[in-house]
Amino acid sequence: MRRATELFRRYHLQVFRYLRRCTGSAAEAEDLCQEVFVRVVKALRRTEVDDSPAAWVFTVARNVLLNQRRDAGRRVVIEALRAETDRASRESAEPAVRLDLERALRTLAPLDQDVFLLREVGGLGYTEIAAVCDLTQDAVRSRICRARLALRSALSGATDNPSAAREARP
């Protein structure tokens, strides 16, 4: 049980933030994150995890996410984005800028988004991401680059105000 606690302490925030970026909903991310660590605890009763615990935890997280996507479809993401949009416009000091980043992430292909967020939010290396997503390292490299260029393009076109263009860009 200490191993599970240690993994939870080390990775739960990264897993939560990864799931929140993927789903667009903090409430959804909490439910999924809880599911992830329930599975982690159960798995640790049967087996040991020594090699790359980060990759293992995020593999569980991604499987939970894929199950959720399969069950709910993209409808959940769209509804969550609408809810986040309402909340962001009420609460955020820079609603337009922050909203653009979330919206831009939604324009990515699901696998590109997963790979990119595993890198930027999860902090995984290319080898670990390749193991989690069942890709080659070259595929991971090209998808991350493609995601960065797509986000850069989406964010630079987010505003027509030249003086704010630099602020709106990533």
Partner: protein, 137 residues
């Protein structure tokens, strides 16, 4: 290894191995500096994320992660390798045989030595008993 300048800059951003010559060439491409800066700014924006799960999440996780007594103690015996188990069994047998031999030795020793007296009677000569030579004629 990719030769695409953007991929090289992206990989370099991630601390992945890149050939120095390829990196030098990628940096000479028009807009490379701005691209690298934009990648860095994007990363900073994404990582500047104060979002945390709520209190209910942690309360729900607490019983799941709490230490519980291990009910499956017998499972710990399973991975003990066979040779180690054989050594343990033989050691146990040896202990039993030695114990039996030791018990028999103790019993033999006890039979051969005289029993300890329950009570001792003291007789003083001339008081409790008299010799023939002491009797009055």
């Amino acid at each position: 290894m990719s030769h695409d300048p953007m991929e090289i800059l992206s990989s370099f951003m991630d601390g992945e191995e890149v050939e120095p010559a390829a990196l030098a060439e990628a940096l000479t491409v028009s807009g490379a500096r701005e691209t690298l800066l934009d990648f860095a700014l994007l990363r900073a924006r994404l990582r500047d994320d104060p979002a945390r799960p709520g209190f209910e999440f942690y309360r729900a996780m607490e019983p799941l992660l709490a230490d519980r007594p291990d009910r499956s103690w017998w499972r710990k015996l399973v991975p003990v390798p066979a040779p180690a188990l054989a050594v343990l069994v033989l050691a146990g047998m040896g202990l039993g045989i030695w114990g039996g031999l030791e018990l028999r030795r103790v019993e033999r020793t006890r039979v051969e030595s005289p029993p300890v007296p329950d009570r001792v009677l003291h007789f003083e000569p001339g008081v409790d008993w008299q010799s023939q030579t002491d009797k009055p004629s």
